[in-house]
Amino acid sequence: MSKKTVSLFLCLLMLFSVATAAAEGTTFTVTDMFDREITISGPVTRIVATEPGDCEILYALGCGDALVGRGLYCDYPESITALPAVQSGADTNLEEILALNPQVVVMNDMAHSTEQVKLLEQNGIPVIATNANSLEEVYENIRLLGKVMGKDTEAEALVAEMQTTFAEIAAKSEKTDKTIYFEVMPLEWGLWSAGTNTFMHELAEICGMQNAFADLDGWQPISQEQVIERNPDYIVLVTGMGETAVDEVLNRTGWGDITAIQNGAVYNANSYSMTRPAPRLMEAAMDLYHFLNDIVDEEVPAA
């Protein structure tokens, strides 16, 4: 072997090792949903996400394997429950998160205090804060996590898939003045409904319907009298109360004159897919569309 070949070989070796070092130690900056600039060294192979929606997005992007810890309520897809849970909300176990040694932690604003975020960051773990209350923000959330995981293409594809799904449903749905009342907490515990700035409101619009409580902002406790007066055409239960939920609503005293009750137009929706900022909102929209249109199909021959 000549001297020249050896030096060329050494040069190549050096170049190669520099290249690998760069791949291992790539640092990049993302802006999270609270406009905070977060520097992350990637590629990210160990991540903890505390919110069910973020976990579902990570799985949809094909990053399920990178998840090493989850929040207590993250239960979809089912395989995620095998991961260690680090509690949730105010009880989030920061020690356990540190012990899992993640490169990034994804948290949601609603459930976490700034103190928790600060503590993790002081320990050298960057925290991405997400906060999606509209479909637009879910897309932003997906793109953000795509960037963090180096899955920009997959993220764009997922966003496009969601947009197409919703656009198709909207195109198929006739715009009407009919109203949907979304019940997020049952009568027994005091009624709550969902107003604007909720996925339910947007899904109703996509299906061409009006939200009966569009005058409210977010989730609010409401009076039973208001439901009776507003006389919704459809009732969608997002209470997660199990199989008997529809019967309970159909048999409520004083509700007999509500159009939805008279038509039996009460639907027990999957409360998780309809409330979580995640790709499953597509399923929620399809389910809602099917429910609304099965009713219409039944009504047409009768009329």
Binding site: M185, P186, L187, E188, W189, G190, L191, F213, D215, L216, Q220, P221, I222, S223, Q224, E225, Q226, I228, E229, N231, G240, M241, T253, G254, W255, G256, D257
Partner: protein, 343 residues
């Protein structure tokens, strides 16, 4: 000294009934949804005389939503207030009440246990919860009074309140512990602890009505003994009161009544504390007047608090506990201030 009748005259009772009836009518006429007075009157009149009620919103809302709620609110208010008045008399302690003594927390603990363990009474939907709430309300009262008695035979204000507060904290941490282990049932338990009168129906009115009639009747029947307690247990014994027996009966009646209320409406703070005090300012300390007046005043107080909760932020509905606790906390401080100054 001029002899005068201790009890209220029939005229005063009629006045109470009139005040209560007009409060109830007001609460039926006003609500989250505005309904024309004429429609309300028609619905009420026709249902009273068994005539056909014109179908529509007035019928649904007035008869099926507001009427049962107003009835339940009045009954719960009456029961809580009567219980507070009886306990304040029995323990000679101005701060005694279901919420300060930890009886309500005990009832909550019982109800949560029933939900977590799935305890049910056959043939009823909430019988198990109600029974466990009653049982634990009584156990809590016995435990608290037993501890207080062991510490300080005179059952003084400070030790009872202190133990009550500690017990309440203990009960709520137990509730949280149960919730941590409850798994699937966590939802119903968490929501149950929030409590609400908004979904209550005539079935509840029947239970509450019978409870107030029977248990409230028992408490009212011991007005004379409660008066004797007011001048000290020793004196009560001297004038022929079976102290132990009377105490036990009143405590059982009070805890059963609070247990039933808590199992239906959740914990509503301060009604039992504040209303008897406000009433006492008008009637004086004689239980033959204080107890029936507290009964009516409690009903009216809670009706008005519920009216505020229902209408203030419509269509949003406030929790009734927010309203009573706001008024109650201010009154609590005032009472505490006055008794400390006087003592």
């Amino acid at each position: 000294m001029k002899k005068r009748t201790e009890t209220f005259s029939l005229g005063i009772y009629l006045l109470f009934v009139a005040a209560l009836t007009s409060s109830m009518l007001l609460c039926i006429c006003l609500g989250s949804v505005s309904i024309a007075l004429s429609d309300t009157v028609t619905a009420l009149h026709n249902s009273l005389w068994g005539l056909e009620i014109p179908a529509g919103i007035a019928k649904s809302i007035i008869l099926n939503v507001r009427l049962p709620r107003v009835l339940n609110v009045a009954l719960v208010g009456a029961a809580l207030s009567l219980c507070g008045a009886a306990m304040q008399g029995l323990l000679r302690n101005p701060l005694a009440d279901g919420s300060t003594l930890g009886v309500s927390s005990g009832a909550s603990l019982g109800a949560v246990l029933a939900l977590a363990l799935g305890i049910t009474l056959p043939g009823t939907t909430h019988g198990g919860v109600m029974l466990m709430a009653m049982l634990f309300a009584f156990l809590a009262l016995v435990a608290i009074l037993g501890l207080a008695y062991g510490l300080d035979r005179s059952l003084s204000t400070n030790s009872i309140i202190l133990i009550g507060v500690i017990f309440s904290m203990f009960a709520s941490s137990l509730i949280n512990l149960i919730i941590s282990f409850a798994g699937e049932r966590i939802k119903s338990i968490t929501f149950w602890t929030m409590g609400s009168l908004s979904g209550t129906h005539f079935g509840h009115s029947l239970i509450l009505g019978v409870a107030v009639l029977v248990l409230g009747g028992v408490i009212l029947g011991y007005s004379r003994e409660l008066n004797a307690f007011a001048i000290g247990e020793e004196n009560a014994r001297h004038i022929g009161v079976n102290v132990r027996r009377v105490k036990l009966i009143i405590l059982v009646a009070v805890s059963a009544l609070i247990g039933i209320c808590v199992s239906i409406s959740g914990t509503i703070g301060f009604v039992g504390l504040v209303v008897p005090h406000m009433t006492r300012m008008l009637t004086g300390p004689n239980h033959k007047r204080l107890l029936p007046a507290s009964l009516f005043a409690g009903a009216i107080f809670l009706l008005l608090a519920d009216l505020v909760a229902r209408t203030l932020l419509r269509p949003v509905e406030l929790s009734i506990g927010v309203v009573t606790s706001l008024v109650g906390a201010a009154a609590f401080v005032a009472i505490f201030w006055r008794t400390r100054k006087a003592g």
